[in-house]
Amino acid sequence: MTHDTYGLKYFKKKQDTVLVQLYGSWEVSGDRRPALDALISLHEKTSLRRVEFDTGKLSAWNSGLLTFLLNIHAFCASHDIEMARNGLPNGVERILALALAVPENKDAHRAPTKTPLVDRVGAWALGQVDAGLEMAGFIGEVFAACLNMIRGAARFRLTDFLLFLQQCGSQALPIVSLISLLVGLILAFVGAVQLQMFGAQIYVANLVGLAMAREMGAMMAGIIMAGRTGAAFAAQLGTMQVNEEIDAFKTMGIDPVEFLVLPRMLALVVMMPLLCVYADLLGIAGGALVSIGMLDISAVEYYNQTKASLTLTHLGVGVFKSAVFGVLVAIAGCLRGMQCGRSSSAVGDAATSAVVTGIVFIIVSDALMTIVFTIIGI
C-alpha cells in the first residue's frame, strides 16, 4: 500500500481502539467506500469503542476528506463509537466542528408525497376547470378592452402598434414565402401522380388553387405566426411579468390588457389576412412550377384553369379564416405570457405553451369552420 499516492491504514492500538493513519495527498478524487467498508468490517470482527487519527503524513486535503470523515462520524455515532478528532489537522477539525454544529433540520426535508391515483385525477380535473375559467376570464378582458377601443377610450401607443405590424407583417414574409411555395409544390406533386393516371393533369391547377385558397394558405400562415409571433408575444409578456413591469402597469392604473395585448392582437388581425393572400399566391406559383416543369402544361393554360376554378368566395373563406387565426394566435400568446410565473424557466414554458395552444386553437377552429362552411354551402 505504501506505493499509493494517498490512502489510509488501520492500526489496532488496543483491543477496542483503532488508529486511522491518513497519508499522502487527499486532494485527488476517488472512491472512499472501500476504506469505510474496511472500518465497518473491522468493527464487526472486534467491536470498537474508539477511533483515533494520525495525520502526520497527510500532505494535502480538500472537501473530499471532509465528506469521508463525516461518513466515519455518522458510522461512529450510530454504533456508539467514540471518534477522537484531536488527531486531525487543525483546519479539518474546525471545519468538521462547523459542519456538525447545527443539527440537521429534519423538518426541512421534503418527504416525497404519495397521493392516490384518484386524488391526482381529481386534482388534474379541477386544474383543467380552473385553467378553462382563467382563459374565459382573459378572453372576457380582451373583449372588454376591444369595446373600450371601439369607444375610442383604449390606451395604447401607436408606435407599439406600428412596431408589431412590422414584426408580424413584413418581417414574416421570407418564411411565409418559402413555406407556402413549397406547400403549393407538394400539393401539386401529390395531385399530379393521381391525376396523370387519368390524363387529367390540368386539374392540378384546380387542386392547388382551391386547397391553397380555402385551407392551406390561411393554415400555413397561421402556424408560422403561432411559432414565430405567438411565442415572441408570450416571451415578451412573460419577461415583463418576471420584471414586475406588468405589476407596475396595474398599480399605475393602466390596464395591461389594453396597453400590451390589444396592439399585439390588432397587428396580427390586420396582418394575417394579408399574409394569407400572399401565401395563396405563392402556393399557386409553386403549383405552376410543377405543372409547367413536369406536366407539360403551359403557363397560360395553368393560369386560365386556376382563374376558372377559383372564385372570390373561395379566397374570402381563406381570408376570413386567417383573420380568426390571427385573433387566436394573439390570444394564445398573450394569455400564456400574462399567466407566466416569476422565473426564467417559466418564460420558456410560456413560449412553448403559447405555440402549442396556438396550433391547437388553429386546427380545432379550422375544423369547426370547415364543417360550418360545408353545411351552409359556402
Partner: protein, 253 residues
C-alpha cells in the same frame, strides 16, 4: 377628484397563497406623513404584504382601509382612484423595458393628467433630475446600471405627485453612498411633498435613520410580533427575535 386621506389601516389581515398561510392577524395603522417600515427576516412575507397594500393581491381575510374606504370591498372605479394616488417603486425598478426613461416617466403623466406636451417634457426632466438622472432621458432601461434603474423607477413612481409612496427594498443592490442618498431623498419627499412612505426593507441603517413607525413580521409564528418606532423597539422591545434582528444577531437569546 376628491382627496383621499393618506392614512392606511390594516385590520386582521391574513395573507395566503391557496391554503398556505404566510401571515395572519396583522393589524396596524399608518398615519399621514409616516415613514413606515415593514421589516422581518427573509421569506416572512414583507413583499407579499406590500402587494396587498398596493392592491395587487386580495387578502384571504381581513381589510386594508385607505381613509374610511375598505379597499378590497370598494367598487373597481373607487379602487382605481385609490391606486392612482400611489407611487410604487418595485424591487427591480420594473421600468418598462421597451420605453426610454423619459417615456417611462411621461406615460402616467400622459394618461392621467391634462398637461401639454411641453409641460410634460419639463416635468419629466424635473423628476429625472430629482433622482440625479438628468441627461439620461433617451436611454433605455437596459442601457443603464441597476442602481440607475432603481432611481429611474423612483422618478416614475413620483411622476403623478403621489400621496403614498411604496418602496420594495429600495436600497438592495445599491452601494452604501447611493443607499444613503436614497434615504435622504425619501425624507425630503416626505417633508416637501407631504407624502406618506411605506418601505419594505431589512437594511438596519435605513430602518433606524428614516423610519418613525414600523411593523415586524415573524416567519416562525407567521404573524407580527412588534410594532412602533424602530428606535424605541431597539431600546425597549423584549422579544428575542426582534432584538436579534435589530442588533444584527449580536444580542441573541
Amino acid at each position: 377628484m376628491q382627496k383621499i386621506a393618506p392614512k392606511i389601516g390594516v385590520r386582521d389581515l391574513t395573507m395566503a397563497y391557496g391554503d398556505f398561510v404566510i401571515q395572519r392577524d396583522l393589524t396596524f395603522e399608518i398615519a399621514a406623513g409616516d415613514i413606515f417600515i415593514i421589516m422581518g427576516g427573509s421569506g416572512c412575507g414583507k413583499s407579499t404584504l406590500l402587494r396587498h397594500l398596493v392592491g395587487l393581491k386580495a387578502p384571504a381575510k381581513g381589510r386594508v382601509c385607505y381613509g374610511s374606504i375598505s379597499f378590497w370591498e370598494a367598487p373597481p372605479l373607487e379602487q382605481e382612484k385609490i391606486m392612482r394616488s400611489f407611487g410604487v417603486l418595485y424591487q427591480s425598478g420594473a421600468l418598462w423595458s421597451s420605453l426610454t426613461l423619459s417615456e417611462n416617466v411621461s406615460l402616467p403623466l400622459k394618461e392621467f393628467s391634462n398637461y401639454s406636451d411641453v409641460q410634460i417634457r419639463e416635468l419629466v426632466s424635473l423628476k429625472l433630475s430629482l433622482v440625479g438622472l438628468a441627461g439620461f432621458e433617451n436611454f433605455y432601461p437596459s442601457e443603464i446600471s441597476g442602481g440607475m434603474q432603481k432611481r429611474a423607477g423612483l422618478a416614475r413612481a413620483m411622476a403623478l405627485d403621489p400621496e403614498i409612496l411604496f418602496f420594495d427594498e429600495p436600497s438592495a443592490g445599491l452601494d452604501p453612498v447611493s443607499a444613503r442618498r436614497l434615504d435622504d431623498l425619501i425624507i425630503e419627499l416626505r417633508d416637501s411633498l407631504g407624502a406618506t412612505v411605506v418601505i419594505v426593507t431589512h437594511e438596519l441603517a435605513s430602518i433606524f435613520s428614516i423610519g418613525n413607525n414600523s411593523v415586524f413580521l415573524d416567519p416562525e409564528t407567521r404573524t407580527m410580533i412588534a410594532a412602533g418606532n424602530p428606535n424605541t423597539l431597539l431600546a425597549e422591545c423584549e422579544h428575542p427575535t426582534v432584538r436579534s434582528f435589530l442588533t444584527r444577531g449580536e444580542e441573541t437569546e
